[in-house]
């Protein structure tokens, strides 16, 4: 399929729902008042491992206005699904601290919240292990990691290559647990009408939530409707339904009332997912002229007792750079902790932090410029798969970024630039993210009045998806964008996959294009005439997606350049300048694309300097579980930021020629900043975040 003609695509376009969002008219999940609704408040486990011996709900039920208390002892049974986190209120066994153990339903939010504090639970407490430790004897090879990749890959003889290398590094990088912390806490309003369930829910894919909840409640998918027109961010944590969605539906069923359930910011640190902490050992070997001869990347991570979830941390290392000898491996420890989940660029974000930092160390060792070192190791083919890249713009990004950033004037000597108390340095790192696509369905409808409506259960979690689909549809219909309305965010619309894996636009756009082209054909068959009652066409992209040529390695690339200032007295690190140049196929809407890149880079800056979830070894929960304790970048943390891209034509992707851009912005940022901190100070800190105590430590 060739690319669509470009009229709307490529035109900077304001968000179609912009006015609703700036006037407060856009309604998010919790913002429904069905009238006879009740409010739910969750009760969480106060131990990390053990059993509930007894639960006394009577002090809660004695509060005026309390409707019900549900727990494993009285909640209706639901079906078990793959994600055992969803078997909520079904068992007395506690798998982690903060697990949902009961729900209080009351006439008001205030009453529900207070009554929840009156539920008394006696536990049998077991010892727990909650801290990731490389000496844990139970560490194992999970065989497969997320996205279906094998946990290990080996080519050549790395031991021999490392022994013979002119220069080598053997370094261990550590990243802490990170929490997604979308601004809108997860929320669900559940209403039953007989055996039909309606959920107003905050998620990254209404079809997925519908299908999962149908399984849990043993209903046909058509009996469940999930409505999610506006979603206040997700970053992966709303990709699959979290346990509270099941609780809301259970509570509504038990009470016969619509139930509103919003989880708290604190609760988001327990059961809505997080990025696993990682311990990553990188060994790189190179010849004196900077040709990589060996790459070894081993990643240790954690998951819960409930579910094996293995972040694909070392997978990007399999295709980044040419080296004849390579080994990547993942290991997992199962702990008494919440199940980790998806967080923006799962795998690439922590993995590329370690790889790109280690590469900087090698560049220092070799006394080769780090931009040049990357260019020298550009592979002609995907090194692991031996197939061509559909397009690979890394070198172009590095060159353009270096020019814009003023890299040529850089003196590589670390720790020699000082402005008052500030030590100044610059660093670079590469970014990458795979270009996936999944099947979707869509309908396109021509109205008698000359307008068009496109329907697809896509999701706009802030990506600009609603706007980009409007542009894609306009071009496929050969109509001005102003005539096209796109309806998304409702499982009653044609089925579609998630806003996740940076594949929303590619997946939905394919289905939308097919539907629009089919509609155009129907209109042409009628001699260009649209009947007064309209004309409609439906499309399913399954065949096209299945026919994707597997002979190409498809990824987006980028190069990030950072300038940092580190206070020589306090150790405070600030990012004064950040430039990202990306190669991501055709950019559909430059306006929202720039926001996506900048947003990813901002989260990367935050990851580098501020964010860490601190596990309490004694009690088994994340100590800093709110936005006062878990710091995300604020206005004052973000200095001069610029994102741009190169023109990239790639006919091997999808009808739009686009690659996903939602995640690549966070990939490489932390490495660029860490490398700049080394350049500023001469200190190589191999653990995130780059806290002042670590920068002051000798």
């Amino acid at each position: 399929m060739s690319a669509v003609g470009s009229l709307a695509i490529g035109t900077p376009t304001d968000r179609v729902e912009g006015r609703e969002k700036v006037t407060g008219a856009a309604r998010y999940a919790f913002e429904q008042l069905p009238g006879d609704h009740a409010y739910a408040w969750l009760v969480q486990s106060e131990i990390a491992s053990g059993e509930i011996l007894s639960l006394d709900a009577s002090p809660a039920l004695a509060q005026e206005g309390v409707v019900a208390v549900a727990w494993a002892g009285n909640a209706p049974r639901v079906a078990e699904v793959d994600d055992r986190e969803l078997s909520v209120l079904q068992s007395r066994t506690i798998s982690y601290r903060g697990q949902i153990v009961a729900v209080v339903v009351a006439e008001s939010l205030e009453t529900a919240r207070e009554a929840a504090a009156h539920v008394r639970i006696d536990y049998e407490v077991r010892d727990h292990e909650v801290v990731l430790d490389e000496h844990d004897p139970a560490i194992y090879d999970p065989g497969t990691v997320n996205a279906g990749y094998p946990s290990e890959s080996v080519q050549g003889d790395v031991a021999r290559a490392l022994a013979r290398a002119d220069a080598a590094v053997d370094v261990t990088y550590r990243t802490p647990a990170f929490h997604n912390n979308a601004m809108e806490p997860h929320a669900t309003v559940a209403l039953w009408d007989g055996d039909d369930l309606t959920l107003y829910d905050s998620n990254q894919g209404a079809s997925t939530v519908r299908d999962t909840l149908a399984q849990v409640f043993e209903l046909e998918p058509e009996q469940v409707r999930v409505i999610s027109p506006h979603v206040g961010g997700g970053f992966g944590s709303k990709g699959t339904p979290r346990p509270h969605v099941v609780v809301a539906a259970l509570a509504a069923r038990m009470t016969g009332r619509p139930v509103k359930l919003a989880i708290t910011r604190q609760q988001m640190f327990a059961f809505t997912g997080y990025r696993t902490p990682t311990i990553q050992r990188l060994r790189l070997g190179a010849s004196g002229d900077g040709q990589l001869t060996a790459i070894v990347h081993e990643a240790l991570q954690q998951s819960s007792r409930l579910r094996e979830f293995t972040e694909q941390t070392a997978v990007a290392t399999r295709m980044m750079y040419a080296a004849p000898n390579r080994r990547t491996a993942h290991r997992l420890a199962r702990l008494d902790v919440p199940t980790p989940s998806w967080m923006r660029a799962p795998g690439e974000a922590p993995g590329m932090y370690a790889l790109e930092s280690a590469l900087d160390e090698l560049a220092v060792e070799l006394a080769i410029d780090p931009v040049e070192l990357r260019i020298r190791n550009e592979p002609p083919l995907d090194p692991e798969r031996g197939i061509p890249f559909s397009s690979r713009g890394l070198v172009a990004c590095l060159r353009l970024g270096a020019e814009r950033f003023g890299w040529a004037e850089r003196d590589p000597t670390p720790g020699v630039r000082r402005e008052g108390d500030w030590l100044v340095g610059t660093g670079v790192a590469a970014s990458t993210y795979p270009a996936y696509r999944s099947p979707a369905t869509a309908t396109a409808r021509a109205e008698g009045d000359g307008s068009f409506v496109v329907r697809i259960a896509a999701s706009d979690i802030g990506t600009g998806g609603r706007t980009t689909l409007t542009l894609i549809a306009a071009d496929a219909l050969d109509q001005p964008a102003a005539r096209v309305t796109v309806e998304i965010g409702d499982s009653a619309l044609p089925r579609a996959g998630l806003a996740g894996g940076s594949m929303g636009t590619a997946s939905w756009g394919t289905a939308v294009t097919l539907a629009c082209r089919a509609l155009v054909e129907r209109i042409e068959a009628l001699g260009g005439h649209v009947p007064a009652d309209g004309l409609e066409a439906h499309a399913d992209s399954s065949d096209e997606v299945r026919a994707t040529d597997q002979g190409y390695s498809r990824h987006a690339y980028g190069a990030q350049f950072a300038e940092v200032r580190v206070d020589a007295v306090t150790g405070e690190a600030r990012v004064s300048r950040l430039l990202g140049i990306f190669a991501a196929g055709r950019i559909i809407n430059p306006t929202t694309a720039r926001s996506q890149f900048l947003g990813g880079m901002t989260m990367g800056l935050s990851m580098a300097l501020l964010e860490e979830s601190v596990m309490d070894r004694e009690f088994g929960d994340y100590l800093n579980h709110d936005l006062a304790g878990y710091h995300v970048a604020s206005h004052a943390d973000v200095g001069e930021l610029e994102a741009d891209w190169i023109e990239e034509l790639d006919d091997h992707l999808n009808p739009m020629g686009s690659k996903g851009i939602g995640e690549i912005g966070i990939v490489g940022t932390a490495a660029a900043i860490g490398n700049a901190v080394f350049h500023a100070t001469g200190r190589r800190v191999r653990e995130l975040p780059l806290r002042l105590d670590r920068l002051l430590a000798t």
Binding site: V22, G24, A25, L33, G233, T264, S595
Partner: protein, 175 residues
């Protein structure tokens, strides 16, 4: 449960309310008056998504007990545009600069910016104001650093800061 009868004037409209004394101003707006523009991001005054103008000053409405403000005048995001639908200049600037993504922090950012520009016009310094004696009453003179500092109570996880600051600077400069 104890209740109190109070009157709130919200966006120029008077509301007589009988409220549970535990009710925050944010929950009164959202759950009683169906004014859901102010958002609940943390309920602890740590994110700014609930920012409204209370008697002309910006506050985190999740930290305000409604019954403590009988008779107060409140402006929420729903009350910023003109009655004919013409957007407040900050609302227009946010759209034009794509100064938001998911939109959940946006009402708080905009209400906060309205309050912040009024503070600057009244000569209030911030922690990064270098010369406390100099005339600080001109919002147009606010540097990017001043805007960033003064807006730091409003978190944006999508990372739209790089567009929010110029949107606010535009409006500050136009006055």
């Amino acid at each position: 449960m104890p209740t109190n009868d109070i009157t709130l004037t919200v966006n120029g409209e008077r509301h007589d309310l009988s409220l549970d004394t535990r009710t925050s101003l944010l929950d009164a707006l959202r759950e009683r008056l169906d004014l859901t523009g102010a958002k609940k991001g943390c309920d602890h005054g740590q994110c700014g998504a609930c920012t409204v103008l209370l008697d002309g000053r910006r506050v985190n409405s999740c930290l305000v007990l409604a019954v403590a403000h009988d008779g107060a005048e409140i402006t929420t995001i729903e009350g910023l545009a003109e009655p004919d639908g013409e957007l407040h200049p900050l609302q227009t600037a946010f759209v034009e600069h794509d100064a938001f993504q998911c939109g959940y922090c946006t009402p708080g950012q905009i209400c906060s910016a309205v309050g912040m520009l009024a503070e600057a016009a009244a000569g209030w310094p911030s922690v990064v104001t270098e010369d406390l004696v100099a005339d600080a009453t001109d919002p147009a003179a606010l540097s990017d650093g001043e805007i960033r500092e003064r807006m730091s109570g409003n978190l944006c996880r999508c990372g739209a800061y790089a567009h929010i600051v110029p949107a606010i600077a535009d409006v500050a400069g136009r006055r």
